[in-house]
Symmetry: C2
Subunit: 394 residues, 2 copies
DNA sequence: AGTTAGTTCGTCAAGTTACCGAACTAACTG
DNA sequence: CAGTTAGTTCGGTAACTTGACGAACTAACT
């Protein structure tokens, strides 16, 4: 079907006439006319006016009808649950944030379901127009069982079928994906990278992990464990048995590492943000701690670049995106790799995973609606306005 | 066109009837009949007999006509040039090996062209039936200029357009690709891995490098430098400026590293194979040298697994495939990664790149013949007999 | 051995789908 | 008015499907 191509042309090129769509897609004018008529009658696109001032007959221009359907993107964190409702253009309509229910397990399912239902009500949209929900989780979803493995901060989430239960409660399609993977997709979508660029999102927070987008697709790996950079074999001694529990790199390049290193140097236990504050005042122990951690993260970045050779490595996460650390990482990394390397700060901050959820949802929606039965179709969702996502950051 | 699907079904499922092809491809019987008639008349497939003993009418079975076209796979090494001629089923017909012309540059082009022409003569095949040649080179082909960058062992190869010149001399399509990348494709094709399995081929010889197959496709990276594991930031001090010339890992995990380490321990300069021999006699210095090198290669393997999470890492290269080293690598790697990991010895040995060239050539041939103009078509070349490749190893 | 039922192969004819090309009408600029 | 562009109508085609049917075979029964 050319339907898919037509939808994409309209989505990408904003308000556009049928004649132009025909040129872009390479189909004939009346093939396009037929499809457009069809799409308009089913409500997916709408006419929004005329061209004017050009020579020749005025053209009717069409655009994706934003309110034809909605998608929900959920970021389930250890501390907070964030839910956003977006329209078909990827514009955020409403956002809702709550503390994560500490009971875990089914309580989480109930919480997410309630939040998704109430956000559609808040936005004043009929619930039936919600077509899909994507949930980012801090762990590895098991595609067989739907359980979330390796998620220490949320209890009992590895004992239930999150996707299945949510699907039942919400009565819409549900996709569950690792939050760092979603963040990588989000940055790839909105972070000023080409559609074909390979990018890696490196998240540094309580742990360290990477999401990898190659050829527009997430690299998942055999066990869904691609990007587990915490187990890179340097930092702490990788051959020490203790490195089998907490990875060798993770021991020296995450929240706990900063706290512990500062403690070792000074005998004083401070929180991460206190240590950052101390560094800003020029305290040498704090500065040395940050230097040391940045050095290890820089090595991780170089390891990723040596193996993947991406267009850019985007660094995010609660501590990774702090400029003081980022500058040090960039500086150190450039010292141990022969070519120029591109390390960037996340442009989406805490909303990277949410944005990734939105693009995943929209992609899935387009596939199911317009490419049913087609084997391999490249579907590109045009980037939304980045401000939609960043502005909402609380 | 369904033509592509029909060809694949016949290629994959050996001698097969039209009715079975219809079932496999999901097309109707006479669509298949038409296409088969067409393919038979153009010579790409041939009838080879009847089914028998089954209930019902006998079926005429067809197979790919092996001699409809041929492809050449060339492995250009620093010391040797290896050329093989294969038929459409991926069976090696003839192999030719020569020392690499030491003059480099255009002399290499002339040498390869001469060898390719003479091998078709040797095999007694009309030159016009040769459709494509794939050349594996120890360096990074620049897709713009056709020059081969970073190829220290072959002189002046970075100053000429290898692909273009060969295409002109041979008058067939020519693809030039990095040899480790081809080896990765070869192992992926013949090494008992699933079509969708991600595998990494790690070559350890004069240098260390990896070829990465993800989702059936080579991972190339922004600069074509994916898999440059020599620059992984451990082994030697990665922040030392000397690690910008020879990568930190490459300094301790390749031919020279073995020689130098043994020299440092004993004061004696031996070749790599002499050191392996010494290790076999139980000489402790040699054993310790191998242990130390294996330890670093194991770290490289773990780094790859942590980032890519492939189904398997296949180790090859002149020293990587030596069992003494491989056993040590496997053992050390398992000690610093929490999950079970699959490290395998190359099954193709020196013929991995050749096999990769063959599958690349056959793939390209199928695309150009049967999928012309189609956007994205998965084309799977059924594995050939691995013996065809390994047996020829000299 | 002969008959009959059941199965599968391959073909024929008619219909469907998704597209295209060319001619045509509509609406605008200058 | 001519010139230009937008959209429609009409007819046509390539690729595929569906369903009916004869040919060729096996198996089982008489």
């Amino acid at each position: 079907m050319s339907q898919c191509a037509v939808v994409q042309a309209i989505a990408n090129c904003g308000p556009i006439s049928r004649a132009s769509v025909a040129k872009i897609t390479g189909r004939s004018k009346q093939t396009v006319s037929e499809i457009v008529a069809n799409l308009e009658s089913t409500g997916w696109i709408q006419a929004v006016g005329h061209t004017e001032g050009h020579i020749g007959r005025r053209a009717i221009v069409y655009e994706i009808s934003p309110s034809a359907a909605y998608v929900a993107s959920v970021d389930l964190g250890g501390a907070r649950v964030r839910v956003t409702l977006c329209d078909l253009t990827g514009t955020v309509l409403t956002e809702l944030v709550e503390p994560t229910n500490p009971n875990g397990g089914m309580a989480i399912v109930d919480q997410i379901a309630r939040m998704v239902r109430s956000i559609t009500a808040l936005a004043g949209k009929p619930y039936d127009d919600l077509h899909i929900a994507v949930v980012g989780v801090p762990g590895v979803p098991d595609p067989e069982t739907g359980a979330i493995m390796m998620s220490p901060n949320i209890c009992n989430i590895d004992r239930i079928d999150l996707a299945g239960n949510l699907r039942r409660q919400l009565d819409v399609n549900v996709i569950v994906e690792n939050d760092v993977n979603l963040a990588a997709r989000g940055e790839h979508w909105l972070g000023n990278h080409g559609e074909q660029d390979d990018i890696v999102y490196l998240s540094v927070g309580t742990g360290i992990g990477a999401g990898i987008v190659v050829g527009g697709q997430l690299l998942r790996g055999r066990n869904g464990a691609a990007g587990e950079v915490g187990f890179l074999p340097f930092g702490a001694d990788p051959f020490d048995p203790s490195s089998l529990k907490t990875g060798a790199l993770e021991q020296v390049a995450a929240t706990n590492a900063i706290i512990r290193q500062y403690l070792a140097r000074t005998g004083v236990r401070k929180t991460v943000s206190e240590i950052f504050d101390a560094a800003e005042t020029g305290e040498s122990n704090a500065l040395e701690t940050l230097d040391s951690v940045a050095r290890q993260i820089a090595r991780a970045t170089v390891a990723i670049i040596a193996i993947i050779d991406p267009s850019a490595v985007v660094i995010g996460g609660s501590i990774g995106q702090r400029t003081e650390l980022l500058d040090r990482i960039t500086h150190q990394a450039s010292k141990c790799f022969p070519r120029k390397i591109r390390i960037e700060k996340t442009r989406l901050g805490a909303h990277a995973a949410i944005a990734g959820g939105v693009v995943t949802a929209l992609h899935q929606l387009h596939v199911s609606l317009f490419a049913a039965g087609q084997s391999t179709t490249e579907i590109i969702i045009p980037p939304s306005e980045i401000e939609n996502f960043v502005a909402g950051a609380a």
